[in-house]
Amino acid sequence: MSDSFSRRDFVATVGSIGAVWLLADAAERGEALAHAAHQVQQAQPTLQFFTREQAADVEAFASRIIPTDDTPGAREAGVVYFIDRSLATFLKDQAPAFTDGLTKLSRDVGRKFRGQTRLSALTPAQQDEVLKSIEKTPFFGTMRFATLAGMFSLPTYGGNLDFVGWKLMGQENAMEFRAPFSWYDQPANRRALLGGDA
């Protein structure tokens, strides 16, 4: 835990989980981030980088990281569009490595399920089996980080559609909050916890 959240450490956490996402040139990236956000505001989601088949595999993968149940998951959040747009714009230099990862994924699918090449063609249980077999690989780490980034970054980046990611976590999107902020700082609860010291 020490290496996962203190002020000194949090960037390292990010780095170790999503290193490949942090290698782009920072100065260029700033402009590209804005460019990407602008494009999303302009248009209905369309694929800019992935082929349809690749997009289906990426979406299948992301949907196993955060599945859809009674609440929206990575699919409904549009995570695939976040990743697609990233690779088309501010992470362009990492696109070849990502494509390689998808090619290897097809081979992994084939090794587990003869005759298959597409993760998206498998059942969810079969998809989980494939993901478990590659859980320790850098590509899995990248896909997990990319899924979470797409789920929880601002919708302007293409994912987190209608803030479904934030809603899932219970994070209200507001510019202002007023006390009480939580169960604990409601005066009656605080009094009950602290007695005469409240």
Binding site: D3, R144, N173, E176, Y184, L193, L194
Partner: protein, 559 residues
Amino acid sequence: MTILQGRGQAAPARRFTPDEAVDFVVIGSGTAGGSVARELTRLGHNVVLLEQGKQYTRADFHHDEFATVFNNGYCNTPPSHIQTWRKTPNEKAEPRHYLVYATAVGGSSMHYAANYWRFRPGDFNEFSRKGAVRGAAMADWPITYDELEPYYTAVEWAIGVSGQGGVDPNEGRRSRQYPMPPLDLNGPGVLLEVAAKKLGWRALPAPMAIASRPYNGREACHNCGFCWYFPCEWGAKSGTNFTMVPEALASGRCELRTECKVSSIESDNRGRVTGVVYFDQDRREVRQRASAVFLCANGAETPRLLLMSRSNRFQNGLANSSGMVGKHLMFNGNTGAAAEFEHEVNGYRGAPVTRIVLDTYETHDKGHYGGGGFDFRYPFPPLLSSLNMPPDGPQWGADFKRNLRRLHTRISHCWGHTTQLPQATNAVDLDPEAKDSWGLPAIRVTFKEHDADLKFYKYMFDRGVELLKAAGAVRTWGNPPGDDPGNAVHMLGTCRMGNDPGTSVVNASHRAHDVPNLFIVDGSSFVTSGRGQPTLTIQALAFRAAEHASRMAKRGELG
């Protein structure tokens, strides 16, 4: 230039020519430099304020975690900022993005969490009180708490600090109450109150450099929660970008030049500095003449610039006859433990910290040298939070999703903030090979934790877990820090103050021992590390240094 924030009315832009010897060039517009510029202009001096980063306004800020946290928005990043790192002096340093600091008007005060603890009197003479520690270069400060107290008060009122004096029985003498009451108590704050009560400790209202009431024309905090590591969308954070720098500009005596990267401080054969050389926005080299220079570039960039400013007279680097420039790098220790609570804590609402516990400020009787304090907080925005779910639990799939849904609003951390010992081998210097995008030598960091500190971090981590349990945690997780922290902030100690020119870089007035018209003030001035919240002390030192320099300039002692 339009003044965007602060009490001053917009003054006509002041412009100086490079050939005109301005009274002071101030290098860096952060906590120290922004304050020095404001104080010097208030005292009647002309100032050129150089900042390597850009100037942002409130309208530039947003809830964009992906840009701000994950793409190091506003901070030093390659290729403009290159660093190398090694643990010990006989290793070859490898490229590593290790030190993190904002490069923008306001420096790191533009995105700080804004914990504004004063030092206690005993922080200034820990060496005399406790004696030597093997492997550490302990020393007393050349000033006392009482000498600094008027400047602590001046800073608290100048920028706007919220807090409640007089409730901490161990605080130093205070000449004036805080200008504003504490910020609204939030969920983690109540949990810390509960924990402290159970352990027989005391939860104190946190002193924070965030306005709890409208202050000097700025908005009060709206509790939006995007605070720790984010610049303030309301202008309620009292960083120098919203306070000191606009006031310096409003004086009509200050010119701010942004995106200017200083490459050297020049000196003449009498050993006086004559001005600075920098690359402007278009990477053209400019030579600005000055009667005196204030170096306030932070605990890493300050020693680097001195070491880059070699001359025939100063072959070891400027102001470095002692060989102490860059030595004794300290960061403060940080411990973190996490816990799940039964009800919603909603740490993402309100100020990052609303209560603190300082009962571990002195731990000599427990066999430790230093000390520290605690807060409860959970300022992690959604993406960072999702990456920090309990490590022994599921990291993907339906159960992971259940954790995200339940825990984001129910986690509180306990963060410990501690001393860190000064060691001569921990240092910032120039990498012999690596260069940044200006072609300037990269910062090389050499850093290894002291065993006594590692032992103390473990002590603090364990107390943190106890606090979380005492607060009613359903479960806790985490580990004490190991000897390689991923990243570091709070760069301290690298141009230490002292009375002896043989063992320190600046004197008690922050004047370089070797150079009568060069002043150095920022985290580099620290002799010892304090208890983990250095920013108010940096700012009080800056106010004091500016006053001393002004007095000397008016007496004609800087020529």
